[in-house]
């Protein structure tokens, strides 16, 4: 078909092939399967996919749906949820982009998801797979526990609130560490919050058993909240005077950033000229900047409102220490392209983690990728307004936010950092790194920060 297609690609650099590959889809064979595309080597295909993805996202962002449609078609020729990393990523991102397009037809969208059932047990299963496959949560637990341990030194009555009580191992470890305390173990009460009663029951059972074994006075206080922490009744936390309170929040705060304002999906309204586009972008960035500094008053459902409310609740409990783990990425940008590009980088890192530690054929890996990352990507890319819960933000924003909410950065101890680092190293996969930033622990894949753990006290 093309004069130098095959001959040169066999021997030359992939770059060259890439530039040729771009040319290939010409009007005459649009929509037809491109056999040579399937023969692309992984790397070339990857580059091509990135390119297509961004092109497609651009079209979606600007509302050029026909072009987007063509791009989606092309990507789907190349992507594969069980292929190499880039193929997988591309598959999930196109799914997300397609969802975004479909959302312009709410009826269609709803119909397509009509039979989608949320199975809580599946969700917690995926969460625990994530816990197993990645070191992130484990490191977060280690660092959290160490911070709690240090803050509770000398305390006789310790109360720990776990905003997402799903992993007993964290608290078993804390029990053990407390039992080895110089001054003897404290009276320990753990309040576990979760959506499912069964999870809490299991946890309660394990913790009570362990506490008995270690002979630590212990009490577990389960709180079932349906529909997320937003529906938490602070009264139920039953924080008593005289006890030292620790709060552990692992990936629980960012959903509070979800706001219902500007629900206007930018889908179909962007057919303007470049100038308009530029203006639009500027406006958006201005918007986001101003809204983060001065929240709109009187909109109770705005992001600031919900976040403020919750942080205020936590602050009102006067925790002696609050350890916060959050994603350390910027997935809360105002524009689709901004978010998509950031997400592309972070999820590329996450997928790379899996690629380097788990076989491609692993069903568990597929599950985590699809049910966790895939859903997150979908949420970041396709959703807007209150629906968009995965509003991961950078550590510095969290620091600022928590400081505004009356918390003071405690700074993690070196010992805590050391423990986290050690655990990471134990993965033997040296892509995992940990660094310190403003007294917080940042867990990275290669150089890309993915999660951050910070420790806070109540500034009264």
């Amino acid at each position: 078909m093309y004069q130098d297609d095959g001959s040169s690609s066999a021997t030359s650099s992939p770059l060259q092939f890439f530039s040729m590959a771009q040319l290939s889809p010409n009007p005459s064979n649009l929509g037809s399967p491109y056999p040579y595309l399937r023969e692309l080597k992984s790397e070339e295909r990857g580059l091509y996919l990135i390119h297509l993805l961004l092109t497609c996202a651009n079209h979606v962002a600007t509302g050029s749906l026909e072009s987007a449609e063509i791009a989606l078609g092309q990507i789907s020729q190349l992507s594969a949820p069980d292929g190499d990393t880039m193929q997988r990523i591309a598959a999930y991102f196109t799914e997300a982009l397609a969802e975004r397009i479909i959302k312009a037809w709410p009826g269609v969208h709803r119909a397509l998801n009509a039979t989608k059932i949320k199975i809580p047990s599946e969700e917690s299963m995926v969460r625990s797979l994530f816990y197993e496959m990645f070191p992130f949560l484990k490191v977060a637990f280690v660092v959290t526990n160490q911070a709690i341990l240090e803050a509770m030194e000398g305390e006789k009555m310790v109360h720990v609130i776990d905003l997402n009580a799903s992993e007993p191992s964290q608290w078993i470890a804390l029990l053990q560490a407390l039992s080895g305390r110089a001054e003897g173990p404290p009276h320990l009460r753990i309040t576990g919050i979760h959506q499912q009663r069964e999870v809490l029951d299991r946890m309660s059972h394990k913790l009570v058993e362990e506490a008995e074994r270690l002979d630590i006075p212990f009490q577990f206080n389960p709180i079932v909240v349906s529909g997320g922490l937003e529906n938490l009744d602070p009264e139920k936390l039953r924080v008593k005077t005289g006890e030292a309170l620790a709060i552990s929040s692992v990936l629980q705060l960012h959903p509070f950033l979800a706001s219902h304002k500007n629900p206007n999906s930018r889908l179909l309204q962007r057919q303007g000229t470049l100038g308009e586009l530029l203006l639009d972008q500027k406006d958006n960035s201005f918007d986001s900047a101003s809204s983060s500094s001065s929240p709109p008053i009187g909109s109770p459902s705005s992001s600031q409102g919900k976040m403020d409310w919750f942080l205020n609740v936590l602050w009102g409990l006067s925790p002696k220490v609050m350890v916060v783990t959050e994603q350390d990425s910027n997935h809360n940008g105002a524009t689709l392209m901004e978010r998509l590009l950031e997400a592309l980088y972070s999820y590329a890192a996450l997928f790379d983690c899996l690629e380097s530690t788990v076989p491609r054929s692993s069903i568990e890996r597929l599950k985590v990728e699809k049910m966790m990352f895939g859903e997150e990507i979908k949420n970041i890319v396709a959703c807007e307004g209150g629906e968009r819960k995965e509003r991961h933000e950078k550590l510095e924003k969290w620091i600022h936010r928590l400081e505004m909410a009356g918390f003071g950065n405690l700074g993690l101890s070196y010992y805590g950092m050391l423990q986290g680092k050690g655990l990471l190293e134990s993965y033997g996969c040296d892509g995992y790194r940990m660094k310190e930033e403003n007294g917080c622990a940042v867990i990275c894949w290669q150089d890309r920060p993915l999660y951050a753990v910070s420790s806070w006290r109540c500034r009264k």
Binding site: S13, Q22, N26, L30, T62, I70, S356, T357, G428
Partner: protein, 673 residues
């Protein structure tokens, strides 16, 4: 593997009771009875946990003349009767008789409570001589000093009859437990140290490790012992204090137990390999400590503890291996021609195991070097490996080999070491060492790691590299490709997006604020439209992205060739400027040329994201087809760092093609105008 029994915790061959006992001992030690249960039997007098000072014990000395005496007394109290290395290391030492002491911060009720302000506390010299303004920490010292000025002076005499009133001091930090009178600390030095340790800035940094101290004496004490004795948990964590180590073990073990108890569907190994050999390596740890202890003199970098071969591996690495010392610059220079796409390959293994190096491209050279003789790979380290790979590392060596042959594709190895071995098909008897040291090295010293890495892994990576490339690397590469593909307008969107995101790293100072404004362009000749489109339209996105790893990777790959990064031309976020920024790293000043050359009047006309071939593909193809070959060579040149040639040829190419052929063709396809 850890057992699933919940009643005893069998790691390191110690029963739970023993561990608890030791914890208690350690706790006691930390408060002054017996610090120094350490391996070598020496003193551990650096304190992570400052509260452990037993300040109120010093009350008796509060009237003694000089602070020194207090300090020395304190020091003496903290010195443990040193246990023998063997007994403490194996955990079978006789339990120390423990003196029952008050907890820190439970002073006698009749003591006088003194609250000092933070300022006073932190003031180093509270007592100032009115003549020469010299300050002293103690009044007594001032008195002695005044004597030198022939001023009236008076030393407080220790009264024989009157028992000096005991004083206790409050911590001024309201949130601190020692802020309350009931928990006040017993001496001034103590409260000072407490205050700076717990609430002050840690301004003393250890040169050798990452630790920081707020109190200079802590820092000094740490510096003396830093690197000399350390405990390494199987999970890889290092500890300089045994009590910390044991506390940590509890955690480690709890997690291991947990994953042993509920093995996830088929992931049990993933979960538990974390705590590699927690159970299985039961004896390794103690043996590891005692037997490697005597060689620590040879290399203090040698980590003690139960890291099985990890210790040896690390050791390897830190020896400058004679065969592996290719100089960095050489490596960097050599790297590119191996593969133009070699930047940041962390290629996956076929068998999906881990241990990838972050910057493999720097290794290509070595890899070639080694590929002829895999066994040579360990280089200088091989001897050391053998040395340390004694019988007490059965886990890692034998099991590793077994699993290498049998379970290449599975992660069901018990230890992380064996995981690594999986990568090693070619493995003869010794090959696993490479993996070990590679891993350990990787974990302990970030970027420089791969310089001393082993070959077998990389050999395989080399093979696999052809197969696939990590997504991160691809993104980086896509960004890098902006420079070559931007001659093709189709590439604009992705390439420039990524590219500017990528280049935002080096240039972010300049780009930060005004990225999306057209004001930028006033500083410069208008960059080519494609570039400006990419850069400015997505300016917001890109510049916010300054922390992306692409930058670092890029910097790495260009590091050697990098002369000076002229920032002056990087103000514009346009794609071409990005590109120039990168050229500058290697060559210097082609930027203006680029700008000028690239600058064309029909800017926005070419804003085609018509990549999909909706129109005018033929024209595009013609361009690219015509330039294919030169592209290749350019790429390579670029990689090699001959950026002068590269950029000029690229420029000319771009100008030739773009300005003639493509401009019109894209101008004719203004899909967004």
């Amino acid at each position: 593997m850890a057992t699933s029994s919940s009643s005893s915790v069998p790691f390191f061959g110690m029963s739970r009771e023993e561990v608890d006992e030791q914890m208690k001992q350690q706790a006691a030690a930390a408060i002054g009875v017996g610090v120094g249960l350490g391996v070598g039997g020496g003193l551990h007098n650096h304190h992570h946990h400052p509260h452990h000072h037993l300040h109120h014990q010093l009350l008796q000395h509060s009237s003694s003349l000089l602070s020194n005496s207090q300090l020395t007394t304190a020091g003496a109290q903290q010195q443990a009767p040193p246990l023998s290395a063997a007994s403490s290391a194996t955990g079978s030492g006789p339990p120390q008789p423990k003196k029952k002491r008050n907890q820190p911060g439970t002073p006698n009720p009749d003591a006088e409570v003194i609250a000092l302000s933070p300022k006073t506390l932190m003031a180093t010299n509270r007592f100032i001589c009115e003549v020469c303004n010299k300050g002293f920490q103690r009044e007594q010292n001032l008195q002695l000093h005044r004597r030198g000025h022939n001023l009236p002076w008076k030393l407080k005499q220790k009264s024989k009859t009157e028992v000096p009133k005991r004083k206790v001091y409050l911590c001024p930090e309201p949130t601190c437990v020692h802020h309350e009178a009931s928990r006040a600390l017993g001496d001034l030095t103590g409260i000072k140290k407490h205050y700076s340790r717990k609430h002050g800035e840690k301004k003393w940094k250890c040169d050798k490790c990452a630790k920081r101290y707020a109190v200079q004496s802590d820092w000094k004490a740490h510096s003396k012992t830093c690197g000399t004795r350390e405990y390494r948990c199987d999970c890889g964590t290092l500890f300089s204090r045994r009590d910390s180590f044991i506390t940590h073990r509890a955690f480690c073990d709890a997690l291991a137990q947990e994953s042993a108890r509920n093995p996830p569907p088929s992931l049990s190994s993933l979960g538990s390999h974390l705590f590699a050999g927690a159970g299985g390596a039961a004896n390794n740890m103690t043996l590891g400590i005692s037997s490697t202890a005597h060689s620590s003199a040879a290399a203090d970098i040698l980590r003690l503890g139960g890291s099985t071969t990890g210790g040896a591996g690390q050791f390897d690495h830190l020896l400058p291996p004679s065969t592996t010392t290719t100089t960095t610059s050489q490596q960097f220079r050599n790297q590119p021609h191996l593969s133009p796409s070699s930047a940041a390959f962390f290629m996956q293994q076929q068998d999906q195991n881990n241990s990838y190096q972050p910057f493999h491209h720097t290794l290509m050279q070595q890899q070639q070097q080694f590929s002829s003789d895999p066994n040579n790979a360990a280089g200088g380290g091989a001897a050391a490996n053998q040395l340390f790979n004694l019988g007490f590392f059965p886990n890692s060596s034998t099991a590793g080999i077994d699993s290498t042959t049998s379970t290449n594709n599975n992660n069901n190895n018990a230890t992380l070491f064996t995981n690594h071995n999986n990568n090693n098909h070619s493995g003869g008897g010794d090959d696993h060492h490479h993996h070990h040291h590679q891993m350990m090295m990787g974990s302990s010293t970030g970027g420089s790691v791969p310089l001393f890495s082993s070959s077998s892994v990389h050999q395989q990576q080399m093979n696999n590299m052809v197969a696939h490339m990590s997504a991160t690397a691809l993104l980086q590469k896509a960004a890098q490709m902006g420079s070559t593909t931007n001659s093709n307008p189709n590439a604009t969107t992705s390439a420039s997006l990524l590219r500017s995101a990528f280049a935002a790293g080096p240039n972010h100072n300049n780009q930060k604020s005004s990225s999306s404004s057209s004001g930028e362009k006033q500083h410069h000749p208008p960059p080519p439209s494609l570039g400006s489109f990419g850069g400015s339209f997505f300016g917001d996105v890109d510049t916010n992205n300054s922390n992306n790893n692409l930058h670092d990777l890029m910097m790495n790959s260009f590091a050697a060739a990098a002369g000076n990064n002229n920032n002056n031309n990087n103000n514009s976020p346009s794609m071409f400027n990005m590109e120039e920024g990168n050229h500058n790293q290697s060559s210097g000043n082609n930027n203006n040329n680029n700008n000028n050359n690239g600058g064309s009047s029909s800017n926005n006309k070419k804003l085609t994201r018509d990549f999909l071939g909706v129109g005018h593909v033929a024209a595009v193809r013609g361009i690219a087809g015509g330039t294919t070959t030169s592209n290749i060579s350019q790429n390579q040149q670029q990689q090699v760092g001959a950026a002068l040639e590269r950029s000029s040829s690229l420029d000319s190419e771009r100008n030739n093609n773009n300005s003639m052929g493509s401009h019109s063709s894209f101008g004719g396809n203004p899909s967004f105008q």
